[in-house]
């Protein structure tokens, strides 16, 4: 403290000649003291600078208080009357420019195909199959095959998907996107037996549709071997599906990879399984023979990302069908006859209840 006092006296020139000399000597010989002098001087300088700035600011604030900001602003800023004059003068031009812009925007959107259906297609591929009518060589080949298949409608349909039996008396589940915009719908099993069906329920949000066979030839599917799982399945569970990406059933095997689907959709599972166009609407079964979902689509730009609607929403669809129509006798199967069988036997049993859905 005494040193600080001396430093201040030294800096302010309040020392006598002899004191001053003594201090100069001390500074020269003792670098620690010298450093303290320099530091103190710098500190006082910044304190002084602080004080001056404080005073300057308060002086300026005082001046600012006396100013009439509004009148200055009015002086400085272009007034609104000027804007009005300009607007009156140029509003015709502005209107023309705006309409040209609108026309240009819509023309370019139209010409780039923004309004066609393709553009609204998302990253998510819904897996119904478009049945192409080939021409030339291929068509000839097909004719030869078809000639041998009597009793099968020659027209292959506009779209194809998969469906599976819900009850033994002719209710079938598929995706609503499979039967969307359908004139008429037929189902066909792997033996080639086809029935006409009516779409009795459609829910585009959960992508579930329920069909009912409307055909005098039909009697019964027989006992349904699988049950519908009410609870959620666990990630990594082995699953399989059977579907109709072509006119014969195709088996696909995989595992549940996530409890949420496309873009985190909680109504879907994500499944690592190989599925293709035509698999839509097929059952997703676990290894105990429970239907845990309905295959729905896959992500076009990512590997191993199939999606399936959770079985919970199929059950919900049945409930709302029951309540909306008088037909309340939709009894879904409660007895599972697949548990404990090998996958080969499970597929054999299940195959009878899975159909190619043909949409005209």
């Amino acid at each position: 403290m005494e040193l600080t006092e001396r430093i201040e006296a030294y800096l302010n020139g309040e020392m006598s000649e002899s004191e001053f000399q003594a201090f100069e000597n001390l500074r020269a010989t003792n670098p620690a003291v010298d450093q303290q002098v320099v530091a103190h001087q710098a500190f006082l300088a910044s304190l002084d600078g602080y004080g001056r700035k404080k005073k300057l600011i308060s002086a300026m604030n005082a001046i600012h208080e006396t100013l009439d900001i509004h009148s200055i602003k009015a002086d400085v800023m272009p007034t609104s009357t000027l804007i009005k004059i300009l607007w009156n003068k140029y509003k015709v031009n502005a209107a023309i420019a705006a309409s040209v812009a609108i026309i240009a925007v819509y023309t370019s959107l139209f010409s780039t195909g923004y309004f066609s259906h393709n553009a609204t297609k998302s990253d998510m591929n819904l897996l119904r199959r478009e049945v192409k009518r080939e021409i030339g060589e291929v068509k000839k080949d097909q004719k030869e095959i078809m000639r041998n298949m009597e009793g099968v409608p020659v027209n292959p349909g506009r779209f194809g998907g998969t469906g599976f039996a819900l009850t033994s008396d002719g209710y079938v589940v598929t995706n609503s996107h499979v039967v969307k915009g359908a004139d008429s719908v037929y189902i066909q099993n792997y033996k080639g037996e086809a029935y006409k069906v009516d779409v009795v329920f459609e829910d585009a949000v959960y992508d579930v549709a329920i069909l009912r066979i409307n055909d005098t030839n039909f009697t019964s599917f027989g006992n349904i071997p699988y049950t519908f799982k009410k609870s959620l399945s666990d990630v990594s569970e082995d699953v399989f599906t059977v579907g109709f990406p072509k006119d014969d059933p195709v088996f696909g095997k995989g595992y549940l990879s996530s409890k949420t689907g496309f873009n985190g959709d909680t109504t879907e599972y994500q499944v690592d399984i190989s599925v293709n166009n035509g698999n839509s609407g097929g059952p997703l079964l676990d290894n105990k023979g429970n239907v845990i979902g309905v295959v729905k689509g896959k992500q076009s730009l990512a590997d191993g990302t199939g999606f399936a609607v959770k079985s919970k929403y199929v059950l919900a669809a049945i409930e709302s069908l029951k309540s909306s129509s008088q037909n309340s006798k939709i009894n879904i199967n409660k007895r599972n006859s697949l548990a404990g069988l090998s996958t080969v036997d499970q597929v054999k049993k299940v195959e009878d209840f899975i159909f190619l859905v043909k949409v005209y």
Binding site: L44, S46, K53, I57, M60, L67, I72, K73, V76, M77
Partner: protein, 188 residues
């Protein structure tokens, strides 16, 4: 769309002298002559009245520091210098707010003032540090320090304010306070 700002502008040389002498009327003259120009700049470029006030006052501080530091060469108009500093400061704020950068509607000629502002930023940092240190110092230390070092009151006067019986007590108190302030200042 801009209008010429008409007001009586003081001679630049007189202003510089006035700044060196801490003349109140000079400061008032600067404020009244040049604030409208800065208000115009800031408001046109999406700022408010208060923004204009902050920016202008900061620029005046830069000017004062520069003049008092003795390195102000009058090779451009004072008006141009103030305008350039304000413009630079406002651009910087706009960037921080990440609004439209780069583009600013100009009303005056512009000088390169980056160097001055670097120096100013350093000073500004010190100022804030000191402000903080003083705020943490607490009473009566703060008043003692301010009265003695900033307002240049004598120890005798400070004794009277605080009712110390003798000047030595006050002096001891002052040194203790200074020691604490230093510690706070260099800690930050």
């Amino acid at each position: 769309m801009s209008r010429e700002i008409k007001s009586s502008v003081p001679e630049d040389n007189e202003v510089i002298l006035g700044i060196l002498n801490d003349s109140k009327s000079t400061l008032e003259g600067i404020y009244k002559s040049y604030f409208p120009m800065v208000l115009q700049l800031v408001i046109t470029n999406s700022g408010s009245d208060d923004d204009a006030k902050d920016i202008f006052q900061e620029a005046v501080i830069v000017l004062y520091d520069k003049v008092k530091g003795g390195n102000f060469e009058l090779n451009s108009k004072l008006k141009t210098f103030l305008y350039s500093v304000c413009r630079r400061l406002w651009l910087k704020r706009l960037n921080v707010k990440s609004r439209s950068s780069a583009n600013i509607t100009d009303f005056e000629d512009v000088l390169a003032v980056e160097h001055d502002l670097e120096y100013h930023e350093e000073k500004d940092r010190q100022f804030k540090q000191m402000d903080e240190a003083l705020a943490h110092l607490g009473e009566p230390c703060r008043t003692i320090i301010e009265e003695f070092y900033i307002n240049n009151k004598s120890m005798q006067e400070i004794c009277e304010i605080f009712g110390y019986t003798n000047a030595d007590n006050a002096k001891n108190q002052k040194y203790k306070c200074l020691q604490r302030l230093k510690k706070l200042f260099f800690q930050a």
